[in-house]
Amino acid sequence: MATVSLEHATAATRLRGPAIPFLPEMILVALGIAAFFAFPNDLAFLARILITGLFVLSLSLVLGQAGIPTLGHSASMGTGAYAAGLFAIHVSQDPLIGLLVGGLAGALIAVTTGALLLRTAHLTFVMLTIAVAQILYEIANQAAWLTGGDNGLAGISVNPILGLFEFDLYSRTSYLYALAVLVVSYFIVRVIVESPFGLTSRGIHSDPDRMRALGCNTYRHLLIVFTIGGLFAGLSGALSAQVAQVVGLSSLSFGTSGDALVMLIVGGSARLPGALIGTVVFMIVEHAAATVNPYHWLFIIGGLLILTVLVLPGGLISVVDWVAARLPWNILGRGARHG
C-alpha cells in the first residue's frame, strides 16, 4: 500500500503543470508590466492586444483543445460587447458588473446556438457558425435604434474601477484593467485545460466516436466547452466596449473571427500560450506593416501565415518549446506539455 501511494505521488507530480505554481500567470504579469513601462505612449494599442488576446484564448479552448471548428466566434464577442455597452448606457456604469454582464451574454449566445449547432459536425457546423454570426451582425445593423447600426454604439462610459481607478486619457488604467482581466482569465482557462474536463476535451478532439464508445456524452461535453468559450469571448467584448467606449458592428463580423483563427494558428493552437504569442505577433506585424504600407499590409500577414503553417505546423509556440527544452534549467517542467 505504501509503495502504491508513493507511485501515486510521483505520477501526480510528473503530470501536474509547471513546477512553480502560477508560473505562466507570473510571466504574463511580468511581461505586461514591462511593456507598460517600456511603451508608455502605446498603451491604447497594447490594451487592444490584451483584449484580442483574451478573445483568441477563448478560441484556443474551443478550437485548440476541444476541436470545435467555429468560424463564428465573434458572435459571442460582439454580443458581449453590445451587452456591456448597453448595460453601461442604460443600467449601471459599474465596470465589473458590466464585465460580468458581457461575459454572461457571450455565454448565453454560445449555449443557445451551440445547443442546436453542436448536433451537426464538420463543414455543416462551420457553415452554421458563420451563419449565426452573420445573422447577429445583421440584427445589430438593423436595430439601429438600440445599437446605433453602422455608426456603432457610442456614449459608453464607465465609473472608476472599484471606485478607485479612473479611466485616463493615456489608457494607463485601461491597459492595467485589461491585463488584470486577461491574467485572471488565463488562470481559469489553464486550470480547466489541465483538469479531467480538459483531458476529456482533448480526447473528443482527437476521436469523438472513440469517446462515445467509452461512454462519453460528447454533445454535452462540447456544449459546456462552447459555453465557457463564449463566456470568455463575451468578457473580451465587454472589455473592448468599456475601454474603447464604443462598440462597432465589426465586433460581430466574420473578419473578427477569421483574424482570431489566424492568430491562433500562427501562435499554435495545441497549448494556451500559443494564443497570446500569436495575438502579439499578428497585431504588431499588422500595426507595423500598416504603418509602412497602408495598402499592402495584408501581403505581409498572408506571408506570415503561409510561412508559419509550412515551417512551423505547431505554431510559434514550438520555437519557444524548442528553446526552453535546451535551457540548462528545465523551467517549464515536464508537465508543462499538455495536449
Binding site: 507511485e7 480538459g198 476529456t200 482527437s206 472513440r210 469517446m211 462515445r212 464508445a213 467509452l214 461512454g215
Partner: protein
Amino acid sequence: MAEVLQLKGLCKSFGGLVVAADVTFGLAPGDRTALIGPNGAGKTTLVNLISGALYPSSGDITLDGRSLVRLSMPARVQAGVARTFQLNRLFRDQTVGDNVRIAVLQQKRQSLRMWQPRADGIAVEAAVEQVLGALHLQARQGRLVRTLAYGEQRLLEIALALALKPRVLLLDEPAAGVPRGESGVIMDVIAGLPAELAVLLIEHDMDLVFRFAKRIVVLASGAVLTIGTPEQVAADERVKQLYFGRAGHVSHANQTGQVSHAGRPH
C-alpha cells in the same frame, strides 16, 4: 447462471444485403464465448449492433432483461457493455496514462470536473494504476501512445475497455496484426480477465479461440450456424465445410465472403 446479455432474433440488412439474420444467443457472467466464422460472416456487425454503432432492423438486445436497442452508444457503455476495436482506436498523441485516465474518468463520471489537475483524483489514479498493472503497462505510463510497439497498443486497447468496468466485454480480434510469437501476451491478459465478466471474443486465430473459449458460436452469412463446446464445433461437419469446404466450394465461399466484407460499412 442467468444470462446477463441476450440477443433475441437480431436482424440487420443494408438494402438487400443481410448481415445479421435472426441471431439468438446469450452471455452469462463468467462466460468465455468465441464468435467465429469466415470473412464477411457478420462478426464485427454483431459487435456494432450490440455496442450501438449500428441499430438492428429487428430483434432485441437486453442487458439484465432491459432492452438496449433504443439506447445510444454512450448509454450502453454506462449500462455495462464495453468493446475493443479491430483496428486500434487510441488517443495517439496522449500518454498511455492519460489514455486510461480518459476512460476511467468516464467510468467514474468525473469527466466534467474542472477544478483539479487531471491526475489528482485519488480514486481515479488508483483505478488507472490498477488497469495499467493488470495489462503490464505501468512502465509505459508516461510514453506517448504513438511511440508504443504495436502489440502494446493492442494491450492498451483492451485496457481502455477494462477501465470502464464492464459486465459484458466484446473483444474484436484483440490479436489482429500481432505476430504469432507475441500473441501469447495478449492471450495471457485475456485469460486473466475478471472471472465474473462475460466475454465475447471474435478471433481468426483458431489456436487462441480453442485455448480461450468454453463455448463457440459459429456465424455464417449473418446467421448462427451452430453453438457448442470447442470439441463439438471442431467435430461439426458443417463447420469443417464452412472453413475448408469441398474443392469446388472454397472459391465460392471466399468470393461471397469478400463481397459482403467490402459492403460492410466501417
